[in-house]
Each structure stands twice: as C-alpha cells, then as structure tokens.
C-alpha cells in the first residue's frame, strides 16, 4: 500500500513524524527542567519539519494526505515563532535598580506558609525571579 502513496504524501508523513517527535522531546525535556541552553538543534529540526511539509505540498498529496504536512508546518513554525517574539518588556520607570532598597512583601512558600520579607533583614540574599517550573 505504501508503494501506491504519492511522493508528497510520504514526505508529509515524514515531516509530521519529525515535528511530533521533536515537540514531544521538547516538552519531555521541559518537564525534566533539562532543556539545553543552546536550542539551535531544536530550531533546525522544527524548521526542517516545516520545510518538508511545504515540499510535500509542492510534490502533491492526496486529500487525506494533506493533513500530516499541514500539522508539520504548524508545529514546525511554532518554536521559531515563539523565539522570534520572546523579547522582554518591563515598564522601565518602575523596575528596581542597583542601590534601591527592596520593597517589603509577603508571599506563600511551597508549604503554604506565609513568608515575610522582614525576615531577610541582616542577611545577604540572592533573589531569583523566574516564570514557573515549566
């Protein structure tokens, strides 16, 4: 049956497989908090999947065979797109600066207990803000 498939359909399936495998690896590594700092290989894999998807359409697919390359293109462009728009914006007139005294605050910790920033007084502290565990 595979022999009867159009070249485009086969390429589309390959593209979809590459896109899905790459995105699954991406989310697995995210979950393990072990994404590499250098993500260029991921970008290459995603773009390759998208390009293969486009090539599949150029070669021509059957009607149901159009779905896998379409999926590949959407997934394949997602990460390069998010990287391209990931510039930070803060309201610069409000952001804390060197020499400022930190504001007083309270927040819940992982045990659900309230932590008050007054407890930091007298200690050298490293404070790290990050988005979330993912």
């Amino acid at each position: 049956m595979a022999a009867g498939m159009k070249t485009g359909t086969k390429l589309g399936l390959l593209a979809c497989l590459l896109a899905v495998a790459t995105v699954m690896l991406w989310f697995y590594l995210t979950r393990q908090v072990s994404l590499p700092d250098d993500r260029s290989l991921f970008v290459v894999a995603f773009l390759a999947a998208a390009a293969l998807g486009v090539l599949a359409f150029v070669k021509g697919t059957s009607l149901p065979g159009a779905l896998p390359p379409l999926v590949a293109i959407v997934i394949g462009l997602f990460l390069p797109f998010t990287i391209s728009i990931s510039k930070q914006t803060v309201e610069t007139d409000r952001v804390i600066a060197v020499g400022d005294v930190i504001p007083r605050f309270s927040a819940l910790d992982g045990q659900g207990a309230t932590f008050n920033s007054d407890a930091l007084h007298g200690h050298l502290v490293l404070i790290k803000f990050f988005r979330a565990h993912w």
Binding site: Q88, V101, G110, L126, I127, K128, H133
Partner: protein
C-alpha cells in the same frame, strides 16, 4: 530565594526536579513581581492552563543585609535565565567583600 508564578502546591510537587534547597515563594497574583517592577508586559509563553495572567522577567538580584540591591541581572529573553557563571562572578564580587 526564588519567586515564581507557580502555586504553593506546584512548588511542593515540582521542586524535586531541580533539587533546590532555596526558599521558593509563590507569586501567582504577581504582587511581589509588581513590587519589584519585574512584570513582563510583552508577549509571554504561559500555557493556557497556567494560573497567573502574566509572567515576571527572569531576574537575579543580590541584596545586602540592609535590603539594598547590590547587583541585578535582567534577562532580555523570557526563554533564558541568568547565566550561572555570571551570577557566581557577581556573588564573588559583591558578597565576598562584605
């Protein structure tokens, strides 16, 4: 000490993943983030299921015993955090002399 938009429950569930001994604070409503002026007002990448409406800019601060900021590193890209080597160098420069 860390501040993130994870809920206390998520912090309790996930902290084994990175093995941090630091005190980890939950800032779902971004009140701490806003007090420091660190809310990212640009596009952010939170999945739709995430509890908070916005995210902080990844930032690392060194604070002295009087609560004064000695050093500050803001990340320009939300997918990146402060380079550990840069933070360690800053700690050596600022904390070791005190």
């Amino acid at each position: 000490m860390t501040v993130s938009t994870d809920s206390p429950e998520t912090i309790a569930d996930e902290r084994h993943l990175h093995g941090l001994n630091a005190r980890m604070l939950s800032d779902v409503d971004l009140s701490v983030t806003d007090a420091f002026g660190l809310r990212n007002t640009g596009v952010h990448s939170a999945p739709p299921s995430h509890e908070s409406v916005a995210l902080p800019v990844p930032a690392t601060l060194l604070v002295d015993a009087e609560g004064r900021v000695l050093w500050l590193d803001l990340s320009e890209n939300y997918q990146q955090r402060s380079d550990p080597a840069v933070v360690l160098a800053a700690m050596e420069a600022h904390f070791d002399t005190l």
